[in-house]
């Protein structure tokens, strides 16, 4: 096994894992029952999948084409920082605009806390 083949093997493994995680995201979005669980699936596994694909691409361009591409590293860092924040914002917007939780939910502490706060205000 030459050095090139080893690099290609590892880049291929990273990229295949990333693509598999993207597929897992899609299954989560299709099968899970409400917005919050779907958001959980989308914001975690999609982020990890894209980061793995970009890492594999970076390794390929760096070690095979001998081209150190800092934009790919910046893209990994940026997606790692912003994708969970976007997930948080959209989940909060969904809760505040009154999207119902799934029927199987057993506990909603935020609703309880809001009710207590409203009762405090009315006093």
């Amino acid at each position: 096994m030459t050095e090139m083949e080893i690099v290609k093997f590892f880049a291929g493994v990273f990229i295949l894992l990333g693509a598999f995680l993207s597929l897992v995201t899609a299954f989560g979005l299709i099968r899970l029952p409400d917005v919050y669980t779907r958001n959980h699936a989308a914001s975690k596994s999609a982020t990890m999948g894209v980061m793995l694909v970009l890492l594999g691409t970076f390794l390929y361009f760096w070690l095979i084409e001998h081209h150190f591409n800092s934009r790919l590293l910046l893209g990994v860092a940026f997606i790692f920082l912003t994708s969970p924040v976007a997930g948080h914002l959209i989940a909060r917007a969904a809760y505040n605009s009154g999207v119902k939780l799934s029927d199987r939910t057993v506990q909603d502490d935020l609703a309880k806390a809001r009710k207590a706060m409203k009762a405090e205000e009315l006093k």
């Binding site: 290609k8 880049a11 291929g12 990229i15 295949l16 990333g18 693509a19 598999f20 993207s22 597929l23 995201t25 899609a26 299954f27 979005l29 299709i30 917005v35 779907r38 958001n39 989308a42 914001s43 999609a46 982020t47 999948g49 894209v50 694909v53 970009l54 691409t57 390929y60 361009f61 084409e65 081209h67 591409n69 934009r71 790919l72 910046l74 893209g75 940026f78 997606i79 912003t82 994708s83 924040v85 976007a86 997930g87 914002l89 959209i90 989940a91 909060r92 917007a93 969904a94 505040n96 605009s97 999207v99």
Partner: protein, 96 residues
């Protein structure tokens, strides 16, 4: 061998995007659609990365950063619109 792996990965991501488009069409609430569109934007990033490997060029790698930034801005704007009804607030005089 390596190219085959790349094509398999592109197929996986395309199937994932088809599933996400199903959620965009069907999704009962607007928040569902926004979540699915955000995930589509993120998957588009990895498609661009794979295509630039397959075409053996590093000219498309700027697009990755661009799509990431645009997806984030779009999601933030949409969630702000869902929550408050406005995206930018004009409170120059402080009376709103």
């Amino acid at each position: 061998m390596f190219e085959t792996v790349m094509w398999i990965s592109v197929t996986f991501i395309s199937l994932a995007m088809i599933g996400l488009i199903y959620r965009v069409i069907k999704g009962p609430t607007v928040a569902d659609r926004v979540v699915a569109l955000d995930a589509i934007g993120i998957s588009l990033v990895s498609v661009v990365a794979l295509v630039s490997i397959l075409l053996d060029t590093s000219a498309f790698l700027d697009i990755i950063l661009l799509i990431g930034i645009l997806a984030f801005i779009g999601t933030v704007a949409f969630s702000k619109f869902l929550e408050k009804g406005v995206i930018m607030e004009y409170d120059r005089n402080g009376d709103r």
